[in-house]
Amino acid sequence: MRYLFEPGLFSSSPALHALFLSAVVAAVSAVVGVYVILRSNSFSGHALTDVATTGGAGAAFVGFAPLVGFIGGALAGAGAIEVVGRDNAQHRDTATGLVLGAATGLSALFLYLTATNSTTTGVTQQVLFGSIFSVSTATIPVAALLAILIVGVMGLIARPLTLASLSPDIARAHGVPSRRLGVIFLVCTSVSVGLSAITLGSVLSTALIIGPAATALRLSKNIWRATLASVAIGIGACWAGIVIAYDSYYWHRSSQELPVSCCVVAVIVAFYGASSALRRLRSRHV
């Protein structure tokens, strides 16, 4: 046991905060992630993270709280997606890609200005790849509240959203406001992206949203059970990643510890790979 949990893990305040925050964020990301996949929205999820990056970089430059910047950026991206709407498919893809390119360019500028104009070091690492150990203690209760709020909203709209995701027409016939639900869901996704970004950094945040959810969905054919499973997998991956990262400091005294976010993503990918393999084995046996 001593080699699994290096000394001080459970008495280290940043580590405990990290375990708590990551659990809360993993839970909301998993719930939202299930529906991102159901609606085949992986691409727009990726688009949101690019604009969230710009928001986070901008916040770092201006001195705002990172969470505000990330969520604000993601919401702006969501608004843009809604406005661009259903144009000619290829033009829309090109236009979206270039808008994201411009957003990335802006990120480059903000990060550069922050690095040259202030004393903060490692801003690129922080914004893009996150560092959960250094999230300010003031942010944590806010993040937890937001997460609970989003999970609550998702619980309320889960059933109508499921039908609307499968067939907006049938949903409309039932009296379900498909389009408005879509917008609400986009807002939930944006907040999740923001929360995930302060946990794992904006570039890796996608992994927390779709990874555990995709893993659970490969294994279960019941959406409610799949949602619970993806929450468990998400929390498990985050905690495993945190423990690994914390322990890595003790492995080779000479080198630095592995970044937490990378460890978490590695575990997420490993879980996904395992579930894919399991699914393929199962279908061959049937």
Binding site: L163, L166, I170, G175
Partner: protein, 267 residues
């Protein structure tokens, strides 16, 4: 008051007049067939009734209101589903009960019994626990029907539900829809390009071609003079062993040939 009242509806896409002065109405418990060849505008009309498509002229009144506040049962021609979607057929039918209610209230045992009952009624008991993404076209059709019926609508719209089914399934589904319609007083509007399967159960027919519509009972509408006027050129209606054949004279103008002219010969 009729359940569905379509009056003088007109709709134009670009320079094509899809619907031109279409009128018909359906009362509670009436089974109406919307008959017309492929591409004539049946789906467009159904979508207009649902409120998914705006119309250029005319009115559509459902249950006495122009706003679609009452739930309408809708079975689209097909829906695309990812094979990995984590919903069983049973779960999808269950959504028909409470999809428009917020929250996560669990299903009561009564509701669960109803779900099983409807699954059996459409002949879906054997694949109730399969993922909906893995169902065949015909199986999915049955699930969509069960889903639409379980919400106890006053109006049920079905867009070409019989197209993918083998003849025996067609008979089963038609009989089921008819009995449900009578038993629960549901107004049913079912679109098809071939009317013979529906002849035993249709109370009324709305015959659509080139944007124009003739409606009434089958005796009234499916007559040579009525259909000839509708098509704009002479067609003959032949009745043979309880089946109907609509035949056009050989003409150079191929566009106006009704599609059933060739289909019926294979039955």
């Amino acid at each position: 008051m009729s359940t569905l009242d379509v009056r003088n509806v007109a709709l134009r896409f670009g320079d094509r007049q899809i619907l031109d002065d279409v009128s018909f109405s359906i009362g509670a418990g009436e089974f109406t067939g919307l008959i017309g060849s492929n591409g004539v505008g049946k789906t467009t009309l159904l979508r207009a009734i649902l409120g998914l498509q705006s119309i250029d002229a005319g009115t559509i009144v459902v249950n006495g209101e122009t706003e679609r506040s009452h739930r309408i049962g809708y079975v689209p021609q097909k829906i695309s589903i990812d094979p990995e979607t984590p919903l069983r057929a049973r779960d999808f039918v269950a959504l028909g009960i409470n999809a428009n209610r917020f929250g996560l209230r669990r299903y009561t045992s009564d509701e669960k019994a109803r779900i099983t009952q409807y699954l059996e009624a459409v002949g879906a008991a054997s694949f109730a626990d399969t993922r909906i993404g893995e169902l065949s076209g015909g199986e999915l059709q049955r699930i969509l029907i069960a889903h639409a019926l379980i919400s106890a609508p006053s109006l049920l719209l079905l867009d070409e539900p019989l197209a993918n089914l083998d003849p025996r399934s067609v008979q089963e589904i038609v009989a089921l829809l008819h009995s449900v319609s009578k038993q629960f007083g549901i107004a049913v509007l079912l679109s098809a390009h071939e009317m013979n399967a529906l002849l035993p159960v249709m109370d009324r027919i709305a015959y659509l071609t080139a944007g124009r519509c003739a409606s009434g009972t089958t005796e009234e509408v499916v007559q040579s003079d009525v259909l000839s006027r509708l098509y704009g050129h002479h067609v003959d209606v032949l009745r043979l062993h309880g089946r109907v054949l609509v035949v056009a004279e050989p003409s150079d103008d191929v566009d106006h040939l009704p599609s059933h002219a060739t289909l019926n010969l294979d039955e």
